[in-house]
């Protein structure tokens, strides 16, 4: 019993330990080089937080989906679609609140479509979302008339333009406002997943779908709800993407789904379902941003950076396997 509790503490702390070690390693290496110290500067901390936010918020949605035993490859193009919807509506001078709601709603709608096809059509989520990934890209291009939407900056309120600004003057308690939004959303989601009936149902479906079905859970409805919830987070991430870019570019989400999935996996999520943690995902997203920033600070070129990012994912999965084997 005692060792079991220790194991669960390690599994919770693991991703943070990895983040601390990676960040510590870079900080030391950066201090050692000539004119070092940029990595640990306050500006760099804000910058890393800002560049983590899009992946972190989308990662929250992916955490729910992976916890339920699913996967969503359309997350990247879905969040780009949401950002294009927002850009397009702002350009057409819609009221801000409506445009924001429509963007997040677009994400939810994408999730609803995915969930419906997956649950009712009994098709594996990998294939369904592989398809819808291209569909969302196509719809986003259609909305943007196959180009980039450059919204007149006068139509974009100041706070939205600077949600992810790394400027000191925009920071609240040392971090960009958007990073705090992500933290708040994480707290709410962690509560929902661990303290509510819905959260336990999601874990049950992810752990053993057949057993969940046999015990009378409305598995299809839970699955659809999971993808809608995930989609809402992708929509919110799309809003952050728009804030970061100040343009609506349909292609800017392509490939982001892999960063998002990697964040969940590095954070201790299992692609087999039944296990994924909100805090772990935040640590996972931050780890990738730290590696990216650290490599630039040390003057490592892009190929090395690609290899480093890839290796950490493999290591994270290997650790996960050891943990599982021990649990048996």
């Amino acid at each position: 019993m005692n060792s079991l509790r220790l194991a669960s503490v390690v599994s919770l702390l693991g991703p943070f330990l990895a983040l601390a070690i990676v960040a510590g390693g870079f900080a030391v290496a950066d201090q050692m080089q000539e004119r070092g110290g940029g990595f640990t500067s306050a500006y760099n901390v804000r910058q890393i937080a800002a560049s983590t936010t899009v992946v972190a918020i989308a990662g929250l949605g992916m955490t729910v989906i992976i916890l339920a035993g699913g996967i969503d490859l359309s997350a990247g193009t879905g969040l780009a679609l949401a950002s294009v919807v927002l850009a397009s509506l702002l350009e057409h001078k819609w009221p801000l609140a409506l445009a924001l709601a429509a963007a997040i709603g677009a994400g939810g709608l994408c999730g609803f479509a995915n969930g419906l096809i997956i649950a009712k059509g009994r098709i594996v989520p990998f294939i369904v979302t592989l398809g819808t990934m291209m569909v969302w890209l196509g719809i986003a291009k259609k909305i943007a008339d196959n180009k980039t939407i450059h919204v007149n900056r006068e139509y974009v309120p100041d706070w939205l333009q600077n949600l992810l600004s790394a400027s000191e003057s925009r920071a609240i308690l040392g971090l960009p406002m958007g990073a705090w939004v992500a933290v708040a959303m994480s707290a709410v989601l962690a509560f929902v997943l661990t303290k509510t009936v819905f959260g336990r149902h999601v874990t049950a479906v992810g752990s053993n779908e057949a057993a969940a079905r046999l015990s009378g859970l409305p598995v299809d409805r839970i699955k659809i709800a999971v993808y809608v919830l995930g989609g809402i987070f992708f929509g919110a991430a799309g809003l952050c993407l728009f804030s970061q870019l100040s343009i609506g570019d349909p292609t800017q989400g392509t490939g982001k789904e892999l960063d998002v999935i990697a964040a969940v996996i590095i954070g201790g999520g299992s692609l087999a379902g039944g296990r994924a943690s909100v805090a772990g995902t935040l640590a996972g997203a931050a780890t990738m941003a730290v590696i990216r920033s650290g490599c630039t600070q040390l003057g490592l070129d892009n190929p090395i950076q690609d290899i480093a990012l890839g290796l950490i994912i493999v290591v994270a999965v290997a650790v996960d396997q050891w943990r599982q084997r021990r649990a048996v």
Partner: protein, 335 residues
């Protein structure tokens, strides 16, 4: 068991630290050794795998070699053509306190905020290749004069046709600033200086791939095959497709054809007489001038607000001269 978990966490960190010290030199070029380096200039292209950027890189390193006290920190976005990635690279260099940043913005609007952040941190910024929407704070803008490039294309086409005939302008895509400048330059030059050249079609867009350009050009050439004497394609994918269309419609060599930016196919066409001119940019000079402008800014010298890096036309006659060969096969940076 605990120890193994711990090891797997430590190993990557060890790998990074070990990797760092070894490969620092691969992305930075420090030709004269560490002691004399006064200026570390970050140069950020739109991507890193395309030949064009390797030539820009070569030019930037040439400048650093010449000054002797300058180190080039070359880094593009991790994913080719990813605007968010490029924003991060700019911010990484701000955190690193580079002395200056030379940037080829992937988007004229999206890069304004990171550039403002750099300037707030007292890091000067030179923009090259493509314009930034807000030029009020930058040191200099170093790029090809695309309008003039368009004019050169019009002159060459008119010369090739003997000063009269009917031409087609095949545009690239809506919203691309550099190619729109070429298109306007082309039409302006014809209107002002070549009254006997008549523009048959100027409202068609070829699209972004050679494939799309081929089918669009083929339709236009079929439709106007009895009238058309000349055609201008405003960029490389566009021109590759157009050359294919000329061949398929059996008009190659008969219709005079001017391209913009070289490719192996187009250079071969120039030799064979199916391409009558290629307008050339000078990426090596672009990289050189961008670093030179930044160096002047950092060492208190005089800086031009706008530097034009030159436009040239390669024809069958001049293509073997050393000057044009240098542009058809420009120097490329090699590790």
């Amino acid at each position: 068991m605990q120890r193994r978990v711990f090891l797997t966490l430590v190993l990557p960190a060890v790998f990074f630290v070990a990797g760092c010290n070894r490969s620092t030199s691969t992305s930075s070029s420090n030709p004269t050794g560490g002691d004399k380096i006064k200026h570390r200039i970050a140069v950020i292209p739109k991507g890193t795998t395309h030949e064009f950027w390797k030539s820009v890189h070569a030019g930037a390193v040439n400048a650093a070699m010449e000054f002797g006290d300058t180190e080039i920190l070359w880094k593009g976005p991790l994913r080719e053509d990813e605007t968010t990635g490029q924003i991060q690279v700019v911010q990484d260099f701000i955190a690193q306190r580079a002395d200056g940043i030379c940037l080829a913005p992937l988007d004229s609007q999206a890069l304004i905020r990171p550039v403002t952040e750099a300037i707030e941190s007292d890091i000067p910024v030179v923009i090259f290749d493509s314009a930034l929407g807000d030029e009020s704070q930058i040191v200099s803008y170093v790029a090809t004069d695309n309008f003039k490039g368009g004019r050169l294309a019009a002159q060459s086409l008119a010369d090739a046709m003997g000063g009269e005939g009917d031409v087609i302008l095949l545009r690239y895509k809506v919203g691309s600033e550099s190619t729109e400048q070429r298109e306007e330059g082309f039409l302006t030059e014809l209107k002002e200086n070549h009254p006997n050249v008549n523009v048959l079609v100027s409202n068609e867009y070829a699209g972004t791939t050679p494939d799309m350009a081929l089918s669009k050009a083929r339709q236009l050439l079929q439709k106007h095959r009895n009238e058309v004497d000349g055609i201008f394609a405003v960029c490389e994918p566009n021109a590759d497709g157009t050359l294919g269309a000329l061949r398929q419609t059996d008009l190659a060599g008969k219709v005079k054809f001017i391209a913009f930016d070289p490719s192996p196919t187009l250079i071969k066409g120039l030799k064979e007489g199916t391409v009558h001119g290629i307008v050339l940019q000078d990426p090596v000079t672009m990289g050189y001038e961008a670093v030179k402008a930044m160096h002047a800014q950092l060492s208190g010298g005089k800086v031009e607000k706008r530097v034009q890096t030159g436009e040239h036309v390669a024809t069958a006659e001049n293509m073997d001269t050393p000057e044009i060969q240098k542009l058809l096969n420009p120097q490329r940076f090699e590790e």
